[in-house]
Amino acid sequence: MRRTGERVPALCDLNFSVETGKFVCVVGTSGCGKTTLLNVIAGLQRPTDGEVLLDGVPIRGSGRDRAMVFQSAALLPWRTVLRNATYGLEIQHYSVRDASRMVRPWIDLVGLNGFEQSYPRELSGGMQQRVNLARALATHPKLLLMDEPFASLDGQMREYMQGEIERIWRQTRQTTLFVTHLIDEAVFLADEIIVMTARPGRTKSVMTVDLPRPRTVEVKKTPAFHVLEDQLRDLVAQEFREMMLFTGNGAPA
């Protein structure tokens, strides 16, 4: 990020850790550097300062111990669902045959059974995101990164996919870092929520969500859910006002 030749840091003083087997959500207003954060953790972007440790070892560049689920499905249009799902494994030097065998259970898990030979253009947005997810899960990452994966889905489909992610996480206990700007999405999915400040992004606070699992849509109607949701909403709203003041985008509420 450059403004009048001066570097403006996207992130600073951002400290948090993700425990193995936990589902952690990162919530912040738009432009707070959420995507930069994921890029740094994925190794796609080098931090100017600071480090990211994975099992105590600093990460250098991208690696097979992390996998990313992208906001747009990022599927290869010339490959079938099956071959898209095997793509990550193929990059990690598995033969097509081995990879196809290895993704089988993941295809079942994300509910793509019977669509193996379809092409991405034949699938709905939700189905495409399932392929995106299967591709990442199949590589058995230590850490799964998800960058607002439902941003392009409509309301109902988004809610449905949130339920699916919760189910899949329960079955896999895959350590996950999930970035979103939606309050209810974060509360519904997370064990722990990291709230980021407006740019430059810092850790504002860490919230623990102890709602019982399995969680279904019913959870969203409980008072406990609403208490957490309101707490989080207040935290994020503070940051939003701050951002508006800083950028001069109108008067604060």
């Binding site: 992208f70 990022a74 249009p77 990059i91």
Partner: protein, 258 residues
Amino acid sequence: MRRFWAEKIVPCRDSLLAITTGLVFIGLWELLPALGVIDPFYVSSPARIVKAGQWLFAHGLWHDIWVSLGEFTLGMLLAIVLGVGVGFLVGWYRTLNVMFEPFITLLNATPRIALLPLIILWMGIGMQSKVAAVFLGAFFPIAITVMKGVHNVDETLLRCSHSFGATDHQVILTLVAPSSVPFLVAGLHIAVGRGLVGMVIGEMMAAQAGVGFMMSRSASLFQTDKVFVGLILLAGFGYFLTEVLKLFEKRIEGWRPL
């Protein structure tokens, strides 16, 4: 019923219309000179062209066809191999791009027919100069479209590839190559046309054999019928190649990024 009409009758009627138009055109072409409305000395007529064709095939037209085909095939193959290679290198490596992109664009904008006298001076009137003419016509569209194809690799797909730890080699094989193919086919469409032009002009300017050579020689002897035979051969060949490319395009239609 409506569906039956749309699926069976309409396509049938459409092709019938197209065929009828062609037949009427050929009929008029035959009839008007026969009635003395237009002079067959200038426009020939289908029957005359068939007769001239028969005579030509019996008197060495095959040789001309083989020479032309050889020139075209060699020139095209060279253009494809070098065009894909250069297009990829200039598209992929930033330094090479900065160095050669303006050069290629400039040469592509130059009417390369203007180089033909020089080429004939350098390579003589044999096949080589025509191979060079085909190559010059076909190389640039291929190189330029492949270069664009390499540039156009989807940014998110690149990020995805890198996030799994892909090496350059893997990125090229799994992303750059497949997503450049539609661009290459588009380039081939243009290249076929330009290559044919190069071949014909080259043969007309200075050659010892070839369909273009036969046409210009016949024209200088006022043998319009024979010129038309050559014209039809060239048109048929160009049409055939375009159809082949269209078939290929259909197969890879789904390859375009979402």
